[in-house]
Point group: C2
Chain length 194, copies 2
């Protein structure tokens, strides 16, 4: 028999949107604001959960790849925004390591701190920096399970040469989560802890 | 601009292989032996790292989806065997939750214990059981970084109702790793701890 392939794609509103790839988003707040807007649009369009992420070139501050959560819409529990953005970024450069020789340093900006799975994915991706908006606690407050993250996850990433910056536009980022909850968005945890 | 999609597909030798989906692999050792053989073939064919996984229906012991590591060949750092198998399994049932209402219990069999990323992915997938062959230490012994896994990861999965069984055919599973190393297979860690 033939097994299906799995195609991870961005929603039409995002692939058709004007992207800031031709101009630079020079400040960390500008990059986060762009990502939070993707999370808001993904939630409002019903194309996935209220999460977005993007990979930026840290030397030019230009967008390499955006990503939004596609769990419910792509029928894929690992299609979190960070995994989508990193996978598309790696397709764009044609290599699995965004931090390989001759590459500029890349930054992953995420509207909410990564869950345990995405946290584990960050070192494998080759990014040199992680920038977070809302806290894991903000996601947990609307019932989104973040999984078993090591208490010292920030220090562990930094030990791998990945700079971590938290709480960038946290209030705006968290408001996308509460708005998703208020609008009755699906909370899609599979196996909760007892 | 248009961003590329990302397609996760199985190598041709695997999609063309005779699959045991029409008959049952009744014992845990038979299911693991099948998965170890996929890991060996993936390594020997040069279609990815020396890792494989598969999702089985625990009531019939029939295969739902196989997966092999595709990191280097698909240019995707998160294309670990477990993620590939779970994603294809979810495509087959048309839902992100393998543990949803009306589903049989599903089991993830993996030739080597999951890395930190795949460990985080397991609860999100909806599987009810995880079966491991080689230990994380066996992967580390050939230079494969397993990431920051909680020391009590087995207990944490069990608290979520996911039964964990380790060391099934461990020696055979570990031999695929050492053979990969001996044959000069690529060790593809991106951001190592200092």
């Amino acid at each position: 028999m033939t097994y299906p392939t799995f195609t991870l794609s961005l929603p039409a509103w995002l692939t058709e949107a004007a992207m800031p790839s031709e101009h630079s988003l020079a400040t960390i707040e500008a990059r986060m604001t762009f990502v939070i807007e993707l999370a808001r649009r993904n939630s409002e369009a019903g194309t996935g959960g209220p999460f977005a992420a993007a990979v930026f070139d840290l030397t030019t501050h230009r967008l390499l790849a955006p990503g939004v959560n596609r769990v419910t819409t792509a029928c894929c529990s690992s299609a979190h925004a960070e995994i989508v953005a990193l996978s598309i970024a790696q397709q764009r450069i044609g290599h699995y390591d965004l931090g390989g020789p001759g590459r500029p340093p890349y930054e992953l900006v995420t509207s909410t701190e990564p869950c345990a799975m995405c946290l584990g994915a960050v070192p494998w991706s080759g990014v040199r920096a992680l920038v977070c908006g809302a806290r894991g606690d903000d996601a947990a407050a609307i019932g989104m399970d973040e999984g078993a993250k090591p208490a010292d996850w920030v220090a562990q990433l930094e030990q791998r040469g990945i700079r971590v910056t938290r709480d960038i536009c946290r209030t705006a980022a968290a408001s996308v989560l509460t708005q998703y909850q208020r609008s009755g968005g699906e909370i899609y945890n599979a196996r909760q802890a007892n």
